[in-house]
């Protein structure tokens, strides 16, 4: 009898899994259960929808017809429980689906506002296309907005609202932006860009409460007593894996659903992938969370192969994100910072816990007016890099870091002269690639 695969969640992890299952098991039954009425679209693309760079229809990656053509059943429903012993997924409307293998790819949700008044009309978080559309509609009739939080999403909200013509106040709890990944100068580059857009940054500012009249937001009060009138309060203080389904099923969870390296959970025939999964890394012995699109895709593909009977470990590659931080192209690779960020109560979207595992190390910085490269040097390797502005070296650095290339020949020179960093890396990388190609 053909196998019966059920996937909960329609983000990239779920879709990547469905495509692999369909390709390798042409006769199998595949069902995607999704709470999101909009189906499969690019979540990271929502930032560019907010800023007006792409229209809504370009966010969609596959149509319902595409899924039908692939023979994938699409069910718009909320999954509420799992009958683990009976191998059935139970839906909110009491229907249930039988499965042979179940993949939980429910993603993460924005952390709820952690101050009074967080439930007022006018307070927004950004998870789904529906959230983004509501925010744009509201922005078109609003004069002033307050953004709180950290990481990439907070910036995207501030810039998106600015692009909608709204006057934006950005509240930071600490002294600078994204303090546990960026260094002080990098934060300043981002903040200067925001100021250039006339976004007003308030430092050491915490929301005491959101103020409303008849359930509707009209201002934000900070802990210093300042009242900032606003019609929108956008909150991006981190995301939390959506664990309800796993929790009620008695599956082992920590910050996410704990899985082995092949994405298997503690329950038989149930796997997890994407932002919801906290995947064990056999090489480090740790299980960490990532909220990165490429990671989620790789999880989904590995999980699908495991479901098909070929246990396939997810190989952690070097955590990397390439993004625009306030308009500055920025690549973050490997371990760069440490500690926590006051503006985030949980992992941000587009984030990796691995970026904050930097051991005490040498730091080399190449300064330029706009462009900046920061390298974290281990004893023999480059362990992390942050490239802002010109991206010429981001690819070579990504390769050297991922391969743990031995940089001993240039390490002393890197430390000796900040200005030589670009040339040293470019020359070394070219030679390393030639040798690498010759030996592989």
């Amino acid at each position: 009898m053909a196998a019966n695969y059920v996937i909960v969640g329609s983000g990239v992890a779920g879709i990547a899994a469905a495509e692999v299952l369909r390709a390798r098991a042409p006769g199998a039954s595949i069902t995607i259960v999704s709470e999101d009425p909009d189906g499969y679209y690019s979540r990271p693309g929502l930032a560019y929808y907010l800023s007006g760079e792409i229209p809504e229809k370009h966010l969609f990656l596959r149509s319902k017809a595409d899924f039908r053509a692939l023979g994938i059943h699409w069910l718009h429903a909320q999954a509420t429980q799992i009958d683990v012993a009976g191998h059935r997924l139970i839906l909110a409307d009491k229907r249930s689906l039988a499965y042979d293998k179940l993949l939980i790819a429910t993603g993460a949700r924005a952390a709820a506002p952690d101050f009074p008044g967080g439930d007022l009309d006018g307070v927004f978080t950004l998870d789904t296309l529906k959230d983004a559309k509501r925010l744009v509609r509201k922005a078109n009739k609003s004069g002033q907005a307050v953004v709180v939080g950290g990481g990439i999403t907070a910036l995207e909200l501030a810039e998106g609202l600015h692009a909608c013509g709204v006057n934006v106040h950005y509240l930071l709890r600490g002294a600078r932006y994204w303090a546990n990944v960026l260094d002080a100068e990098e934060s300043e580059l981002v903040e200067a860009y925001l100021r250039g857009d006339e976004i007003e940054i308030h430092y050491h500012a915490r929301v005491r409460q959101a103020l409303g009249k008849r359930g509707k937001l009209y201002a934000v009060e900070t802990d210093s007593g300042e009242i900032i009138p606003c019609q929108i309060l956008a909150v991006a203080i981190g995301t939390r894996p959506h664990l309800d389904l796993a929790r009620t099923a008695g599956i082992t969870i920590d910050r996410g659903i704990l899985t082995d390296s092949c994405l298997r959970t503690s329950a038989p025939d149930i796997l997890a992938a994407g932002d919801v999964a906290q995947v064990h890394d056999d090489s480090t012995g740790r299980a960490s969370l990532d909220t990165l699109w490429p990671t989620a895709r790789a999880h989904g593909e590995a999980a699908a192969n495991t479901m098909l009977g070929t246990p396939t470990p997810y190989h952690r590659v070097v955590a990397m994100n390439v993004t625009l931080l306030a308009g500055i192209p920025t690549t973050i690779i490997g371990a760069l910072g440490s500690g926590s960020d006051e503006d985030l109560v949980a992992i941000a979207r587009g984030d990796s816990e691995n970026w904050r595992t930097a051991a005490p190390t040498w730091v080399v910085v190449e300064r330029h007016e706009v462009n900046r490269i920061r390298l974290m040097l281990g004893d023999r390797t480059i362990t992390g890099a942050l490239v802002m502005g010109d991206q010429t070296l981001s690819r070579p650095l990504q390769r050297l870091i991922a391969a743990k290339a031995d940089i001993s020949p240039i390490r002393d020179a890197l430390l000796a002269d900040d200005h030589a960093v670009l040339q040293l890396i470019a020359t070394f990388s070219a030679e390393w690639e030639r040798n690498h190609a010759a030996t592989t």
């Binding site: 990239v12 690019s42 979540r43 990271p44 693309g45 930032a47 560019y48 760079e53 792409i54 229209p55 370009h58 966010l59 990656l61 699109w293 490429p294 590659v317 990397m320 390439v322 993004t323 625009l324 192209p329 690549t331 991206q391 010429t392 981001s394 690819r395």
Partner: protein, 84 residues
């Protein structure tokens, strides 16, 4: 026509690209936002190539560089055509 030099890696000259270059995606960087496809003057679905990690081999591609220049994540580069 000049291209905005942003998150791109112009290691080939314009003439070389026109003569024997093509656009190559690196899918590990791509988040399928669709800015590339939206801005392609010929309406090529560049994003679909990026999902598959395949070079944009389409006889109608002008190698105009709009997708390369506009991608916010540096997914796309010009690369020389290899034999075969």
């Amino acid at each position: 026509m000049s291209l905005e030099r942003r998150s791109i890696f112009f290691d080939l000259t314009r003439v070389e690209v026109l003569a024997n270059g093509h656009v190559l995606p690196e899918s590990a960087r791509c988040v399928q936002c669709g800015i590339c496809s939206y801005n392609c003057p010929l309406g090529l679905d560049v994003r679909a190539y990026a999902w598959r990690g395949e070079p944009i081999f389409d006889s109608t591609c002008l190698t105009c560089g709009q997708c390369v220049a506009r991608c916010p994540r540096g997914v796309l580069t010009f690369a020389p055509l290899t034999n075969g």
